[in-house]
Subunit: 310 residues, 2 copies
């Protein structure tokens, strides 16, 4: 049995070359840095533009991480696609290479589908993968996928596949939903991760497992410190600081802002590339963001040292 995920995971942003092909070198570098900052790798999430990648591109990037010697224990790749066969292929691959878990979107093209249909979708994947090593973290992100993972669906999945259904990422942005999950399911060993770091302290106080958060890509150490010290007397102040940085990044759409800032800090503007349909941040907005990040003393080590030395 693989160790369970806990703590902070980053839905790793995916770097592209000028021709919009995924760039394994920049990807490996970024993941190595994240792991060094105590962040787990929720590669191929929403913030990874994973649904803008093909199945082959995702497999290729995951293989690149393994070839670079990064432990699959730290990985929770996103494997949920619209197509049953794609989801099965990616999930099988993740399990075969030893990933500690997978983060699984429901099929998201058809809207207004029933819990029965979603149960059958997850069920087919679990049965086809057919491995005792499979651990699924459900991915609840109704603002984007538009397909909610309801309490009724979780209950039914947990009853049918207790060893396999391992937890959830709640990206609803609705604290009352996270609270319900913590109350109803966390006591059964079903691990609840909030989907955004401003909710981290509340989630941990409610017994949750941690956070899978976009800004884990740019601020992993500070978020991990909050996780590690959530019982400390200054926990609320730490949370406030984490939240301040998050809100600053949100001045422009988050994927664009994080990629641009990584490019800025690494002095590697190619990092700012996005696959369509997403757009880069406008230059003026980006300058405002960087100025504000400087103002609030945001740092990305070790590049800060380099920068100030230069």
């Amino acid at each position: 049995m693989f160790p369970k995920h806990h703590g902070i995971l980053s839905p790793v942003v995916t770097p592209f070359r000028e021709d919009l092909s995924p760039d394994p070198e920049r990807f490996v570098e970024h993941c190595q840095w994240l792991v060094s900052q105590n962040a787990g790798l929720a590669v191929f999430g929403t913030n990874s533009e994973a649904n803008s990648l093909s199945v082959a591109e995702r497999r290729f990037l995951l293989e690149a991480l393994l070839l670079a010697g990064i432990s699959p224990d730290r990985m929770m790749p996103g494997t949920g696609c619209c197509s049953l066969t794609d989801t099965v292929e990616l999930t099988r691959h993740a399990v075969a290479v030893g990933c500690a878990g997978v983060l699984m979107l429901p099929p998201f093209y058809y809207k207004g589908v029933s819990d029965d249909g979603l149960f059958r979708a997850y069920s087919e994947v679990i049965q086809r993968v057919g491995s005792p090593n499979l651990r699924i973290y459900l991915y609840h992100i109704p603002p984007v996928a538009q397909i909610p993972i309801t309490a009724r669906l979780i209950e039914r999945l947990l009853r049918e596949y207790p060893g396999t259904i391992a937890g959830i990422k709640d990206s609803s942005g609705d604290w009352s939903n996270t609270e319900m999950l913590l109350r109803n399911f966390q006591p059964q060993g079903f691990d609840v991760f909030c989907g955004s770091d401003p909710f981290l302290l509340q989630t941990l106080r409610g017994g949750g497992a941690g956070c899978i958060t976009a800004t884990g890509n740019v601020n992993p150490a500070m978020i991990h410190d909050l996780y590690a010290n959530w019982r400390a007397s200054d926990a609320d102040a730490r949370q406030a600081r984490v939240t301040q940085i998050r809100r600053t990044f949100e001045m422009i759409p988050l994927i664009a802002s994080m990629k641009a800032v990584i490019g800025w800090k690494r002095k590697d503007p190619q990092w700012a590339e996005l696959r369509p349909p997403l757009d880069r941040a406008p230059k003026d907005k980006l300058e405002q963001l960087c100025a504000r990040l400087d103002e609030i003393g945001f740092r990305m080590d070790p590049w800060e040292t380099d920068r100030h030395d230069a």
Copy 2:
């Protein structure tokens, strides 16, 4: 240059075997019947559960049609996926085998994306495919994809790629949008297809090219007759009859109802299979539907003759 599409096209429902794999034999039979009824083949649309298929499965099914001798002149496969690389692969394949056009969803995972981002998405596909034989029919289906194709986007695409942007399927269900498209774009040779047969007569009277309609799977001859006789004095009565049949099928979710009825008429219940997350129709609802279809005299030739002979 390939001939332009016009008239009636069916977004062909995709038959599955018991193991949920796509069934090329039933698919070919159904497509041969549709062509015999004067319907074009908009394979891999929403009603085809195309987004529940992998890229390889779609290519395989398209090849099966070609191997069976069906002309690619009659085909408008859906090729728009979330992933740029998937869309390019499917579009290249469709063009390489000579399909008369492709029906292209915008990338639909990310919500609230800009027209600039969508322009760039279509642009990248067109440039990568790089063929003068490519004809794109834009697929506007905001109730499902949640990503609208706006007039501003169409204008920009038509200006940049006048030989390639061939038309649109309007599945908004909003007649005022279809009217706007007919007024603003049809005169430029941009072919407007309504996305549902109840709008067919209005669309033709407004100068439109035809209809790409779910119930083209079960009622193609009658819909085609309306298309062929839209100037006849009884056109409104024909439209009313077409609409009556459509509304009857809508008693239960349309993909389930059509597949079940095809199975009923062909005495082949395996046809009713759907891939998750979609569900089969409940038995009682289905019986009500079939009774109602009998009541209004709905027929699917040639199986009716067989049935009454039996």
